[in-house]
């Protein structure tokens, strides 16, 4: 009887200590739901594209709600209001897009013909338990055609923020030497920067979640930055290894401020900002390739061919022979 009471108390204590169920975030996903996937084709970095009725190619992203890339369902359009969205083109202009809902959930389509990164934002606001929740989903979508050339890549690749419309935003800093064709891969160190009202935010909680649900949380430093090493969580059988398999990672950052106000007739005492950023990565090359074998093979070939040439030349060397002719003969 006593042990039962202790057990119940322990369970109660654990439940008390455990966090309240996390707020469901919204985030962009390039993975289509199966039902319409036949119309989809994939461009750079696994970006889904679709052709509209006029034959124009558009980029398409779905909105999902949840905290982990794999498990998150597609955001249900019937239970939520249509969110606000912005699309920032590589030349830093706001462009038009179309937020539609189908089966299931929302999807955002836009024409992306300029070279570089398009920033997509989707904002959801609601009051819950006297807290105004502002969730900003962000995605960076690359648009590049090799036929358009690779000039001015650094400028086109530069990350950007939408300072005037988005108050809480995550930015991924480019890795050294990153170009249009660079894929982040497991093992790479990715740096994320959190901005609040356009300035870097210190001590913001930022969480990195991989495709399979591994997660790590850090606080941002004085520059608003946090560095995560993308872990390799893809270890398939050798026969089923897909070196080009694209995994999604999800970055979430949070920040709370004390501010009272009224939103749509509901009073709140705090504002809780959540930002999400979708990214993708592929398995590291070190998983299936070896530089050491390559190096040894190179040395082996150089030595073998050199030895072969040496013996070939030695074999063909003719010793000096002097022939004398007797004129009397």
């Amino acid at each position: 009887m006593r042990s039962k009471a202790i057990f119940s108390a322990v369970i109660f204590f654990i439940l008390f200590l455990s966090e309240a169920p996390a707020l469901e975030n919204i985030w962009f996903s390039a993975t289509p739901p199966d039902k319409i996937s036949k119309k989809i084709h994939y461009g750079m970095r696994g970006q889904a594209c679709i052709k509209d009725e006029d034959g124009r190619e558009k980029k398409i992203l779905w909105i999902r709600s949840g905290n982990f890339p794999v498990e998150s369902p597609y955001a249900d359009h019937s239970s939520r209001k249509k969110p606000v969205f912005f699309i920032l083109s590589p030349d830093k202009k706001l462009i038009k897009g179309e937020l539609s809902h189908g089966l299931p959930g929302y999807f955002l389509t836009f024409e992306g013909n300029l070279e570089g990164f398009y920033n997509l934002y989707l904002i959801e606001k609601f009051v819950k338990k006297e807290i105004l929740n502002i969730i900003t989903a962000k995605a960076e979508v690359i648009s590049h055609k090799c036929s358009k050339g690779h000039g001015g890549m650094k400028k086109k690749m530069a990350p950007k923020i939408l300072k005037h419309a988005i108050c809480f935003e995550i930015l991924r800093k480019r890795i050294p030497g990153e170009d249009f064709h660079t894929f982040l891969s497991s093992g790479d160190k990715a740096t994320f920067k959190v901005f609040f009202n356009g300035t870097p935010l210190k001590d913001s909680k930022i969480t990195f979640k991989t495709q399979k649900g591994w997660s790590k949380s850090l606080g941002t430093d004085i520059n608003g930055e946090a560095v995560f090493q993308i872990i390799g969580d893809y270890y398939p059988d050798w026969k089923t290894l897909n070196q080009k398999k694209i995994h999604t990672f999800l970055i979430t950052a949070e920040h709370t401020i004390k501010k009272t106000g009224i939103y749509k007739g509901i009073a709140y005492k705090q504002i809780h900002y959540t930002g999400t950023l979708k990214g993708c990565y592929i398995p590291s090359k070190t998983l299936y390739s070896s530089s050491m074998y390559g190096f040894f093979l190179l040395i082996f070939i150089i030595i073998t061919t050199a030895v072969f040439i040496y013996f070939h030349r030695t074999r063909r060397k003719k010793l000096f022979q002097e022939y004398t002719f007797n004129e009397k003969d």
Binding site: H150, G294, I302
Partner: protein, 335 residues
Amino acid sequence: MKKIRTFINNSNLSRFRFYFQIAAFILFIYGGYFSITISEKLPVFACPFNKISGGTCYLLPLQHQLHITLSRFASSRGLHLLKGFLIFAGLSLIFSKGWCGYICPLGTIQDWITKTRRYLHIRFSIYDKTVFDHLKKIKYILLFLLILIPIGVKNSFVGLPELPHDIFPPFCKICPGRILLPLFSGNTSQIYIDFSTKTAMFITASGIIVAGIFITGAFVKKRFFCLFCPMAVLLFIFSKVAFFRLNKDGAKCTRCGNCYRVCDVGIREIADDITNKNMVKEDCIMCFKCVEACPERRCLTVSFLSIPLFTSTETGFFKRYIPEGYSPPDNRSME
């Protein structure tokens, strides 16, 4: 003007070429540091796998643009292919094979390896004509495969399955430039064997083997890889109408054979052919060592848009090849 022309004709072009090659090498290997991108359709091995390259070799975009389904050749992709080829043609028309002799970083590396061999007093190899003629064909085979494989990766022919994607881009996978040129910027990432599939393993190992053979080959044979270079074939297409030319006046040729002896790639026609005016052959790298070594006045002439730039002269020959203080055996006028 005459003085300038005499100065040029008597100058040591090989020395000028040596420094020009260094400048071109720096430009095409480290140009990215200075945000320089000359072109993405260059007729030289400016390897894009070297992340700080100052340009891009045309063979990668060519393979990339051929990597489409047959139906898309009639679309904008076909136009891009044509546009790319026209840019390449334009660049080829300007310098013709001069790209090989003066600008190509892979050619420069071979010349440096040759210089090392010379300092070590190791003799170089010469192919006999039969071997030479056989080896020459390899570059045509490589060019044919370079065009066919990317199409075969995207299309199935006569019911056969598509070729595995692991071999794409086929020529880059076996090009020694991909492995060696990034090394000059401290990038060793291209020396690897991919074990993910058998095809990937085969093709990456082949690339390493070719790079190994390239190093040893260039050590014993001048401009070893140029004999197998598919770019040489593409450049040769335009050499007959190019602005940069090497002409021979057969009537002035004494067939002494100097030009053949100094030729890095061993073109026999330069000495034997006295009927044709155009001396730019498929293997010619337009280094103009032949012009330097020719003692006959105006027998060999380098011209740009029919303006003679450098011509063979007896004085120039003696200045370059005969030690100072030596005087010719008779009192002939040198020019």
